[in-house]
């Protein structure tokens, strides 16, 4: 009886009772309604998010933030005042000199947005892209910085953005997880902590899809168990569990019965999702799904040797996921940490990612999905205008970590396309106009989903926790909203 009541409450509340973060009202730890859609705080623009995370910190100065003055000052020392109190991972600040960019920059689209020659395809999407050049963060090492970008603060045990959004809005797909993670190349510094559920129930953790045709762990039946025996087995299991429920009246058993049924549906839904056989050859070509790795360059970016094809496939999969109502897709690529050999290596990565991301934006647009899908392109911080001069190095061929200023891109999902927001000083050291802290970026992201970052909270250890830091006043960047 008890259990039935609870079930009714769950189903009816999906369409009413405010809906928001309903699991909070229920037993937080044992019964979370990750597979029920919930209402937002106010009317949302975005329904789904594809967050492309360029871990390792790409150089904004060689991709997006055009600094002719920096080129002029190449080889010169920089204003000592700006260096006061600054800390670097490797750079020796007493002897460091500025390093210009060897890339060619040009303006694109109706607004004349600047892009370097590394990303020609992305440049063609400039009318759909909002470029924020004044991002800044508090962290200057990778793992802490990646945590702050994904989870709001450089802490372990706290939920990632994708977990928060699914906690707030639930999933619209009954056959797939609401938060899926795709990776290409080698692992990131943060590993699985970047899609952690933290103190939220574990249903909200990102589920990592693996490359290849078996995307989820344990998705396939053991060899020798065909689908019909799986089905008969699960029927028997359901009957036995139901009998035991009738004796114990423990609603967790009903939950388990439902989860076995969902698991069974996922066994067919997930392979269907990753099966690209009904995509046109044109689509596959646009994304570059069959690309080979270039012979030259790449360094650590080469990963398993299949990075180009995997990244392309991930972009295409992300579109297939949002088509099916997966709320949050995280595409992670981790080789942008160019302390040296910047030119060849960033060029390798840019070629890997430029074509498929542009294809994704165009594809979403053609299918009418871009308005409700937010695409994000960001790393955890930027790179220094100073060349990196580690002791013992003959020449500066790379840049160090730079938390003060970096660039992030957004497209679709209620963001103004063709807008360049914020700027940095003439050498790209600090934001000059409209600085955007990582937490402001996150508050804005939630806002696009109709979620108020101060209201989407969860009581943990006596404190109402949220995605943005509770000790910082974060703001929604209204200027970039449509």
């Amino acid at each position: 009886m008890q259990a039935n009541l609870r079930r009714d409450f769950l189903t009816s509340s999906a369409s009413g009772i405010g809906g928001i973060a309903l699991s909070h009202l229920l037993n937080q730890e044992t019964f979370a309604d990750a597979h029920v859609a919930k209402n937002s705080h106010f009317s949302p623009k975005a329904k789904n998010c594809i967050f492309i995370f360029m871990a390792g910190a790409p150089s904004q100065l060689d991709l997006f933030d055009y600094k002719p003055k920096l080129n002029e000052l190449n080889g010169k020392k920089m204003d000592a005042e700006l260096l006061k109190g600054k800390r670097f991972a490797f750079l020796q600040k007493e002897s460091a000199v500025l390093m210009g960019s060897s890339r060619k920059f040009s303006q694109h689209g109706k607004s004349g947005m600047w892009f370097s020659d590394l990303v020609p395809n992305l440049a063609k999407c400039s009318d759909d892209i909002c470029m924020i050049r004044s991002m800044h963060t508090d962290q200057f090492n990778h793992h802490p910085g990646q945590l702050q970008m994904q989870c709001g603060e450089a802490k372990f045990g706290i939920p990632s953005t994708g977990s928060w959004i699914n906690y707030g809005l639930g999933s619209e797909n009954q056959n797939l997880p609401g938060y899926i993670v795709l990776t290409a190349g080698r692992g990131s510094s943060g590993g699985a902590t970047l899609w952690q559920n933290g103190f939220l129930p574990s249903n909200y953790a990102g589920v990592q899809f693996r490359n290849g045709d078996s995307p989820l762990l344990n998705l396939k039946n053991p060899n020798g168990i065909p689908i019909q025996l799986q089905k008969s087995g699960l029927e028997t299991l359901r009957k036995l569990n139901e009998k035991h429920f009738s004796r114990t009246l423990d609603p967790e058993i009903l939950s388990r019965i439902e989860n076995y049924e969902l698991a069974f549906r996922m066994q067919s839904a997930a392979p269907e999702l990753v099966d690209l056989s009904n995509e046109t050859s044109k689509t596959l070509e646009n994304y570059g799904v069959n690309r080979q790795l270039p012979k030259e360059g790449g360094g650590r970016g080469k990963g398993n040797g299949n990075t180009y094809a995997d990244f392309s496939r991930n972009c295409l999969l992300a579109r297939r996921m949002v088509e099916r109502g997966v709320r949050f897709v995280n595409i992670i690529h981790a080789s942008w940490d160019h302390h040296s050999n910047l030119d060849p290596e960033i060029s390798f990565n840019a070629r890997m990612s430029d074509q498929p991301i542009a294809a994704l934006i165009n594809d979403l647009k053609e299918r009418g999905l871009l308005d409700e899908t937010l695409v994000v392109w960001a790393g955890e911080f930027g790179r220094t205008p100073l060349g990196e001069n580690r002791p013992g190095r003959k020449a500066n061929t790379g840049r160090d970590h730079h938390p003060n200023a970096f660039t992030a891109l957004m497209a679709g999902g209620g963001v103004r396309g063709g807008l360049t927001y914020g700027s940095t000083d003439e050498i790209g050291w600090n934001p000059e106009e409209n600085p955007v802290h990582v937490n402001d970026f996150q508050a804005t992201l939630l806002h696009l989903f109709g979620l108020d970052h101060e209201k989407l909270t969860y009581n943990h250890a006596g404190t109402q926790r949220r995605l943005t830091s509770i000790t910082r006043k974060s703001r929604v960047i209204k200027d970039i909203l449509t």
Partner: protein, 715 residues
């Protein structure tokens, strides 16, 4: 005329409040202050000098000269004026006024004398005999108040399975079950408890709880995540120490300060490895001093969480927003750990083949400063910080004439007169035996926590723990021998209506067991498990691609061969950036922060794991072989009953056997026509002279029995 009516109304309200019980500050007033006032008048802002986490600012003159609260006189209390004011510039809270009910509560509270008792968790243990002198008396008295009764005692099979899982984390064997059922002596149950407490597996089971608190792992964490090859030696110390029932006070003191003891034994120095379990960032660009301060902060936070039920971390940057804890007090507490430094010793023991290096902590003097806004580059050198415990926490007579060190801290934590840690630690043991905490916020005993419904029970347990000289085993025996523990977990409709969340313990709780134990049950039921207490971590099979998840694929998972493939779940190598999914899927902590209560997720990923994962499927294959071997000449029904009992510790009912018979027949039908599939599904678990097609159906039946809710649930 108008004012006359108003007065009458006021009079009526007051007389009504006078009639009822006095306002309870903790349950009625403090929540209003915390929810409505503390954002501006708390530890962070303390506007106008008023800070509701500090009693003295409430009852003394504020910056303005006004007094927020004057006992017995609402009219002389600025708080009352402000919450009732209609003047835009005066009214509080400025945006959303308090409800009439809240205003009445505050008014009545002031009228009654504005009693502001010490926070419940910090006050002395309450020892009121009228509330009962045993667990059962206290529980029954409370249940009587709300008009329900305790549940009946669970049947013997449930009891032995529950006790075995709770105490040693393994299901009982068929013989053990039969012995217990056939033992009709009065103390059969007590004997069983004793046997389990003496089992070597007891130490494994309860060590794993402690490892959660200690954030134990076999690697450093962060990007590089280097392995810690001898971390397990400390784990072995925990297992042995718990098996030897080292009193919890000594257990505490050795881990906090074993290195400081005069003529410390190596095992006492080894104990300090509790504080070696922090993450360690070896990324190239890390400032070593910054990471050291991070580790020190983590040690301070972990100690406060585990022993004091306090989340200190907010106070590293500013005064605590809710708790009466200043930033300075944080650094005074931090200072205890600031003299620790990572070190190594050569360790010898009979379980080690040769002397081995183990990582421990040792003393290194350092001066502590407050870090402005928590930034280690901004030490406030004008204030010298010495080690001491926060003022709002229990003040125990201790020698304050000398500067405190970690020995004093350890002594303070487990002083019999420290009610806070006694409460936190006894609640922790209770929680493991009921799957529910007596305090709603298990990891927060701070001032935002409301007193537990069963405060007397909590205090009774805390006192008992002290009386039993901090013996973990004796306190566990005391709890599990109560009728309250032995109750059935089956829900009763009428009791559930009055106590829906079982806050009053009108029944036992029923819950899924932890990830390591899920593995242990699968391996035990199928007979695959190989026992060895302690030893280096092992590498059971994990899916391809998991180990590669760690940074730059710098880690290879070489699957263990032989017995080590089938060890208990707690021995699985724990690589922080690429943990075994069979652990994480079932909510084993990620070892990055201290965890004192695990989640219990119930989702499709869990179902997929037990249905399809290699380790769990191998158990199904082995279980099929085991029942055919055990019962070579028996009929199908008996074999089903045998498998069912191996997994759930009970006999299947006829209707359950029938369902499984149906599945068996369907499976036979399939494999009779698909001989190759039959060979595949039994894998290496074939039996000589038995056709694959005869054995294969049993694999399918076994895997469904292993997937029963009951198999992985402690009832």
């Amino acid at each position: 005329m108008k004012s006359r009516i108003l007065m009458t109304i006021t009079f009526t309200i007051l007389s009504w409040t006078d009639l009822r019980a006095k306002i309870d500050f903790e349950r009625e007033v403090r929540p209003i202050l915390i929810n409505k006032c503390i954002n501006c008048h708390g530890g962070i802002k303390a506007k106008s000098g008023l800070n509701f986490t500090k009693k003295n600012t409430v009852f003394n003159k504020l910056n303005s000269g006004e007094i927020a609260v004057t006992a017995k006189s609402p009219l002389k209390s600025e708080l009352f004026h402000r919450i009732t004011s209609t003047d835009e510039s005066d009214k509080m809270p400025p945006d959303k006024p308090l409800s009439q009910k809240e205003i009445n509560t505050i008014k009545a509270w002031i009228k009654e004398g504005a009693i502001w008792p010490e926070h419940w968790a910090y006050s002395p243990l309450q020892k009121k005999a009228q509330n009962g002198s045993s667990i059962d008396e206290i529980i029954v008295a409370k249940l009587k108040e709300i008009g329900i009764t305790q549940s009946k005692i669970a049947n013997k099979r449930t009891l032995i399975r529950r006790l075995s899982l709770d105490l040693i984390g393994l299901p009982p064997s068929k013989i053990e079950i039969n012995n217990f059922i056939n033992d009709t002596s009065d103390n059969a149950y007590e004997k069983l408890v004793q046997r389990l407490l003496e089992s070597k597996h007891f130490g494994e089971r309860w060590a794993r709880h402690w490892l959660d608190s200690a954030r134990y792992a076999d690697s450093d964490g962060y990007e590089k995540d280097n392995i810690r090859p001898n971390a397990w030696i400390w784990r072995k110390w925990v297992i042995d120490t718990i098996n030897n029932d080292m009193p919890f006070d000594q257990f505490t003191i050795e881990q906090i300060s074993g290195d400081l003891k005069k003529n410390a034994k190596p095992s006492q120095v080894l104990a300090t490895a509790f504080h070696r379990q922090t993450l360690y960032n070896r990324e190239g660009g890390v400032d070593p001093e910054e990471d050291r301060t991070k580790r020190t902060i983590d040690r301070a936070n972990t100690t406060a969480l585990v022993w004091l039920g306090l989340s200190l971390e907010c106070a590293q940057c500013h005064d605590h927003p809710y708790d009466s804890l200043t930033q300075k007090e944080f650094y005074q507490f931090y200072s205890f750990f600031n003299d620790m430094t990572e070190s190594e010793i050569d360790y010898e023991s009979d379980f080690l083949e040769k002397k081995s290096k183990v990582r421990v902590m040792k003393r290194k003097d350092r001066q502590t400063f407050i870090f402005h806004r928590g930034d280690f580059l901004q030490p406030m050198k004008e204030i010298k910080i010495s080690s001491t415990t926060p003022r709002s926490l229990p003040q125990i007579n201790a020698d304050k004439s000398k500067e405190w060190d970690r020995i004093d801290l350890g002594n303070w934590l487990v002083n019999v007169n420290n009610p806070l840690s006694s409460r936190v630690l006894s609640n922790d043991i209770w929680t493991k035996l009921f799957g529910a905490s007596l305090v709603q916020t298990k990891s927060d005993f701070g001032t935002r926590s409301t007193p537990p419904e069963q405060l007397y029970l909590l205090d009774h347990l805390a006192e008992k723990f002290n009386q039993l000289n901090w013996s973990r085993k004796k306190l566990i025996a005391y709890i599990v021998n109560s009728k309250t523990y032995k109750q059935s977990s089956i829900r009763r409709k009428e009791a559930d209506e009055k106590d829906p969340d079982n806050h009053f313990y009108h029944r036992q709780n029923r819950f899924r067991i932890e990830g390591e134990i899920v593995r242990d049950i699968f391996l035990s039921s199928s007979g695959l498990i190989k026992h060895k207490i302690g030893g280096p971590s092992v590498f059971p099979p994990i899916p391809d691609g998991v180990a590669e998840q760690s940074f730059a694929g710098n880690f290879k998972w070489e699957t263990s061969q032989g017995d080590d493939r089938y060890r208990r779940g707690m021995y699985t190598f724990f690589k922080r950036t690429a943990p075994d999914p069979n652990l994480i899927t079932f909510d084993c902590p990620d070892a990055n922060v201290s965890i004192t209560k695990r989640n219990i997720s119930n989702n499709p990923i869990v179902a997929l794991a037990t249905l399809g994962n290699e380790v769990f499927h191998e158990a199904a294959q082995a279980l099929a072989k085991r029942i055919i071997k055990n019962l070579p000449n028996d009929n199908d029904q008996d074999r089903i009953a045998e498998a069912f009992q191996l997994c759930t510790s009970r006999k299947s009912k006829p209707e359950e056997t029938n369902e499984l018979m149906t599945l068996l027949k369907k499976s036979r039908h399939f494999y009779a026509e698909n001989k190759e599939e039959a060979k595949t599904v039994i894998g290496k678990y074939s039996i000589e002279n038995i056709e694959a097609a005869d054995l294969a159906p049993w694999v399918n039946v076994s895997r469904i029995i292993l997937n029963l809710d009951e198999t992985i649930t402690r009832e």
